[in-house]
Symmetry: C2
């Protein structure tokens, strides 16, 4: 059957009524019920599936035995009720998308190339921990606020839930994300190269609320935040940021924060590097200078080999973007229409625009941004593309509302050298070969 | 220790440095590491916890044996690494919030009173099925589009993912939601009374895209949507709505649609009653009149006992709101500050405002709405309240941007009678007694 040229003539298969075993009964409005139970049973008997229905044969087995066309002629609805309802639902057994753990077990990366929209399901939010994940009884956990305050206090999780709350959809990104790419290790997939970032809707209490409770003394300028994990991870934050938009979250995507993300409470520091969003938060100490913890001295400062100096307190995650489809280790089935899609984010301001090139940087075009475009959250971008089947390189480039433009790797190397493995936000290039294979190639 | 009057003097406990076993080591910026491993081990030995650390004693057992104050002096970070990292994460074992199944097993309600923000975690999205949940192999599943079209087609799930996509955060509400309350059964909790609604971020392909592929014939006016479940649930939609904002979703909150929500694909009909958002979608047939299926004749029409007539094709879920905290079956610990919070939504237009009364309807005040306020999605509202400890009734009232105001039960009874169990959106009243107990009382 010839198909006229539409926008996407290469997608799908023509269908004829002969593919439908069932008559189109719905066209008779006179019947009491559209598909009375008796006629359905009759049909099942005709199709030889009643036994299968009675014994609850797993559909996977059935599908494996049947040709592909059987999905249309013997649709799965003929064997009802095979997934039990549950108090807390789980994925289909056919879904196997997973986080990717590093060999040390201290990181697990989000499968960015398999996800849609901007919300990362909590089960796939990236993990990063310095000494494992504590299993905290929330009824025993306390948040202490002390130091340069008028009234040192401790709060239970229930106490924190009593205060006025806010909800925000925000990305979190490990400062070491994409570091492997910066060092030209060229991981194969979007997940392996850039998966130490995720986005959730977080709910909690603003630090301005808590600090007005305890009363901050004159001269206070810094806050130490300390976690309850084995690493006792702690960082210093300037009080200006604290008063701007930092909050203590007890909920993630509607429910309690997940264990690997700081259950029962974590600090949320919008737009700043992941490790300062202290998980399993147990203590905030107010002081007049930075506390110079291990995590801001031996780690999380960025050595510039161009100058021999290190950048300290480089908190903000700058504008970045990434094409997630098509991306590394995928294979396009053939030339034709594809929607290029990906994610963009900036720790400073909302994303202003994302440009896409499909010719290795010779020409750039604006991608569409999915509304709403939220500050310090992922933005899903999309760009329609007809692939002509030839070799090419595709890239995306984000610009935020401060005017900051995502740089190339060449620019970062020229200005910062090859030292920093933190805060790498260079443009990502994917090369597509005539056989449809997509590979990670470093942007020059 | 006397506390000066702050906004919330009744929340939390004063803290003294004596509660901290550890000296404030972080104040010395000269050390290599803030908490060198040796000193931490020393501390663990002092606290008698080194054995516990070595044997990975479950914290639940430890916490049960220890007094409450131990959480501060012997914090859980002293026993690292007790939760394993995982490819697909799960909740803390301390979290037990669950859907509530009806006795028939055909419904399970979302625990609205336990959730935060607007996203419903997919594991707690409400369930409603007419004949169980099919376990569909997505590689075998096809969507057929036929009837009054130029090119009948069938599409695999992979085909559908090839088309241009959209993502939208949208509520879905069963048309029977709150029906029990309408009939004065007065379920105890927000979940039992109103839990047949949830909000997810859905991603899929617009029907305008698919219909332009198959070419709609002149005279087409209605579309039949049919599911693959045992009930073969099917509904008719006017083509105007189809061309406005209907789409076929393959993703929910970032990942694949969950089995109980239509895996691998479901129809999303923004703002319209849940049952028309056909799950396990297998077929769209284009016609020139409504198909008059069982679900739009024997069910899902609303009998008005005031006139003896039934309302047919009452698709839109009108503006509604609900206080989720405090709500039925909770107990406030005592007078003082509470943040009243809840959800509002409308199937027609964005929510314009939510008003809250804390004196049984004598006076109303504006609640704050959490940005962004999205069309046809939940809006989280919040209202600060100082409870004086006396008996009172609290309510919320939503107005959408069309000017529609959420009605009282008395108004609905006067205009519609006591017949309709569908589309009940009357104001919900919670009565608070001097002992802090909260009960569901019907709004007059």
């Amino acid at each position: 059957m010839d198909r006229p040229t539409t926008g996407h003539p290469d997608i799908g298969e023509p269908f004829t009524e002969m593919d439908l075993v069932r008559p189109a009964e719905e066209d008779c409005p006179c019947k009491e019920g559209m598909f009375p139970r008796a006629s359905r049973r009759q049909f099942l008997r005709r199709g030889g599936l009643l036994t299968a229905a009675a014994t609850l044969l797993p559909v996977r087995a059935m599908a494996a035995d049947a040709p592909a066309a059987a999905a249309v002629t013997d649709p799965p609805w003929s064997v009802p009720g095979r997934v039990a309802r549950s108090d807390y639902g789980i994925r289909s057994p056919f879904e196997t998308v997973a986080r990717l753990a590093t060999p040390a077990g201290t990181d697990a990366l989000t499968p960015l190339q398999s996800l849609q929209g901007i919300i990362t399901p909590s089960g796939l939010h990236f993990e990063r921990h310095h000494n494992g994940i504590p299993n905290i009884d929330p009824s025993q956990h306390r948040l202490i606020i002390h130091g340069m305050v008028d009234r040192p206090m401790k709060y239970s999780v229930e106490d924190l839930k009593r205060f006025p709350s806010i909800s925000r959809t925000l990305f979190i990104e490990c400062s070491g994300n994409s570091g492997g790419t910066a060092r030209s290790a060229a991981p194969k997939t979007a997940q392996a190269a850039h998966g130490l970032t995720s986005t959730s809707e977080w709910t909690g209490v603003k630090l301005t609320t808590l600090l007005s409770e305890v009363g901050v003394k004159d001269g206070a300028a810094w806050v130490l935040a300390e976690g309850s994990d084995g690493a006792l991870l702690s960082r210093s934050l300037p009080i200006d940021k604290i008063m701007d938009d930092v909050f203590v979250a007890y909920a993630q995507n509607g429910e309690a924060v997940r264990p690997e993300n700081g259950y029962p409470i974590r600090l949320i520091v919008p737009g700043w590097e992941g490790n300062i969003n202290i998980k399993w938060l147990r203590r905030l100490k107010i002081g007049d200078k930075p506390f110079m913890t291990r995590e801001e001295t031996s780690k999380y400062s960025d050595l510039m080999t161009t100058t021999g100096k290190a950048r300290q307190f480089s908190w903000v995650m700058e504008a970045k973007s990434l094409i997630t489809f098509p991306s590394g280790d995928m294979r396009l089935p053939g030339k034709g229409f594809y929607e290029i899609t990906g994610l963009a984010w900036s720790g400073r301001a909302p994303i202003e625009r994302v440009e896409v090139t499909t010719d290795g940087g010779k020409t750039w075009a604006l991608a569409s941004l999915q509304e709403p475009v939220l500050p310090k959250a992922y933005v899903r971008f999309r760009y329609p593309w007809h692939w002509n089947g030839g070799e090419t390189v595709i890239e995306s480039r984000a610009t935020d509302q401060t005017g900051y433009i995502q740089p190339t790797k060449a620019f970062l190397t020229a200005t910062e050298g090859v030292g920093p493995t933190y805060h790498y936000n260079g443009i990502q290039s994917w090369k597509i070969s005539p056989d449809g294979s997509v590979v990670n190639v470093l942007n020059g």
